[in-house]
Symmetry: C2
Subunit: 390 residues, 2 copies
């Protein structure tokens, strides 16, 4: 716990410095938010629905919002109803509840590696052990990884932190492994709409649903969130899963926060009904695509001698790995802060804290000129570190 | 876990029946909410503060709201700053976080007995053992109870479910025991403003602060919430405690939901600044006092042969105990539902589920005529049960 929170403290302290270029977090660009429309909607839902917005709500979420999410994610083969949907206090709570429901103390999680820091945080209280899954690597075997694990954890679309897209073949293999082993498999999908290149790949939820067409009762626990599609501050997420899993997570949610804020839920419902996420998506994609390109261009100009990376096809991050084994990214973080730029070192995404060779760079929060300057500062910090490293 | 959730399922199913008189929950009367004013404020805070309302916020809460809570609860002897305050996703999350921070598996909680069902729920994952504390009973010894416990848990103002007011002498004794043993002591205070008779007693937070005047660093973990003072649907609560405890709970909150909804926090801030809680309090007290009196009058008319109770000086509940040992309140619940009234049996408030002699009756949700009819129905259900019990 201390490792993670030390880094968070460094990030928070760094956030106080207005001259710092923050490439560490996963923050959105606020100018894409439809503020005036959301302000009007907020007043409307309080005025017209005081019971739903201001009163206690049902533990699993407002029925109308659960129905809408069920309809939104249903396909002819994967039929979803309200009973397949839990509304959560953003994606983080979905991860926490999975831990409460599924994790025995010291149990095993088969996790895509490197893994989302927030998920590692959410499961710390259960002191789990991790089996790393690295799709694309030589010794990757999803059946062996999932067999006997308490659950599997993946972020197929632009994994945090690696930015990697899990391929269609790898998705099919993971789904087959979950069905064959009977192990629950989390499909955490905060970045599912953020495709800058190419056509979105099918969700594992739907690949799993196609195995047994009809009402969904399979092993995928799908997690979505409004945080990237609309705004994070409403703290609205959802889980789509077999009804028995939804019922168990709702029982656990009762002891976490009883119910998610009704005002946020009603705003989310109205925003979906008015297709606000669809309306703001083109501008968001255009903005983020240009920023990804600006960051990667600047990295080619300033960082190609020191780092290797792949241009991500979506999401919020570039994952870069040091060419020189002397470049320890834990040691780089304080040096980068001295040079006025903040990045996330790989150790925080490794359950065992051992990977000190890579770093995660965010491109959604800053304008292109800031990203260029950030890359320049990072290059200076790397040179300074290497010069003093024997 | 199954026991608690069975009862919740019964309550939820009962809530579907419009003819049922629900005396089971702890719901407020919505007509006291200033809906139009809150609707206007909701639009205003989104429009004027999109970053705070729609973006990610700091884990421990918006600084301005933490400052306001600190000022609101400071006294000359108990000086509070932002570092003494954590904003939580309603009171339930405060309880959950305490469990995460303080409870070792199987650890001991010294809890006022009977105890709030939600607190028992929040701590289930840690499988704690309970030492019951019954202020006013012969063998009550707060020093012995707190000594070696991981924390103590009390609801001094109109305890849920007992409606009991912990006396000033008992508060002093509890605070002295916490200071002497070094054991953290939770003062859970959702009903602190709901005094219908008499003058509010001092909070244990302030009794503790008076022991060592200055910046607060003592063993009381005070929990407050907007749920009763304003509305529950915003899901806003707060913890006031020593800075080290606030820091530990904020670290735990990171893995629970990252931050509380910004829109709810900004609405809470504006509501406090405009003194909305103070403005609606007189009407709320008048409404609830009249309902308490109506329920207790009806109980005297219809239930005095079967139940003993004390008229509570505040809060939301009357706690009644069966005169006849054959009156098992677990068995009464289904019989009451058949007669069109719902109550909470005492077993759900007993960590060991053994107390089947009492019941909790809510008086805040229903108008006086409904409370009278509810008491009549309950009397019929009790007679029916006793007639068939040997």
């Amino acid at each position: 716990m201390s490792r993670t929170n030390d880094v968070t403290s460094i990030f928070l302290a760094a956030g106080q410095d207005p001259d710092l270029i923050n490439l560490a977090g996963g923050l959105p660009e606020p100018s894409v938010w439809p503020v005036a429309e959301l302000a009007d909607l907020a007043a409307e839902v309080v005025r017209d629905h005081p019971g739903e917005t201001l009163g206690y709500g049902p533990i699993p979420g407002l029925p109308a919002l659960r129905d809408l999410i069920a309809a939104r994610f249903s396909t002819p083969e994967t039929q979803l109803s309200r009973d397949n949907v839990l509304i959560t206090t953003a994606g983080m709570q979905a991860l926490e509840l999975t831990g409460k429901v599924l994790l025995e103390p010291g149990g095993v999680i088969a996790a895509q590696s490197p893994a989302y820091l927030g998920a590692l945080d959410a499961w710390i209280p259960h002191e789990p052990r991790y089996r790393p899954m690295k799709p694309g690597s030589n010794d990757y075997d999803p059946f062996a990884a999932l067999d006997g694990a308490q659950f599997g954890y993946t972020v197929p679309n632009f994994s945090n932190p690696s930015g990697r897209l899990v391929t269609l073949a790898e998705r099919r293999e993971l789904v087959a492994a979950a069905h064959a082993t009977g192990t629950w498999l989390i499909e955490d999908d905060p970045y599912g709409v953020l495709y800058y290149d190419g056509t979105p790949l099918p969700r594992m939820l739907h690949l799993s649903g196609a195995e047994n067409p009809g009402p969904y009762d399979g092993p995928i626990i799908y997690m979505g969130s409004l945080s990237k599609e609309l705004t994070p501050g409403l703290r609205i997420g959802w889980v789509i899963a077999a009804p028995e899993m939804i019922a168990a997570m709702a029982a656990a949610k009762q002891g976490s926060d009883m119910c998610t804020a009704g005002l946020s839920q009603m705003l989310a419902l109205r925003a979906f009904q008015r297709r606000i996420p669809e309306r703001i998506l083109p501008k968001m994609l255009e903005t983020y695509r240009a920023r990804r390109d600006a960051l990667c261009d600047a990295m080619r100009d300033h960082l190609a001698d020191h780092l290797d990376w792949q241009v991500p096809a979506g999401g919020m991050f570039v994952w870069a790995t040091a060419r020189d084994a002397r470049l320890d990214t834990d040691a780089l973080l304080p040096r980068a802060l001295e040079h006025g730029v903040c990045i996330s070192p790989s150790s925080v995404f490794d359950p065992e804290g051992r990977d000190r060779r890579s770093l995660r760079i965010n491109f959604t929060l800053n304008a292109p000129d800031k990203l260029q300057e950030g890359a320049r500062r990072l290059a200076r910090a790397i040179r300074a570190l290497l010069e003093e490293t024997p």
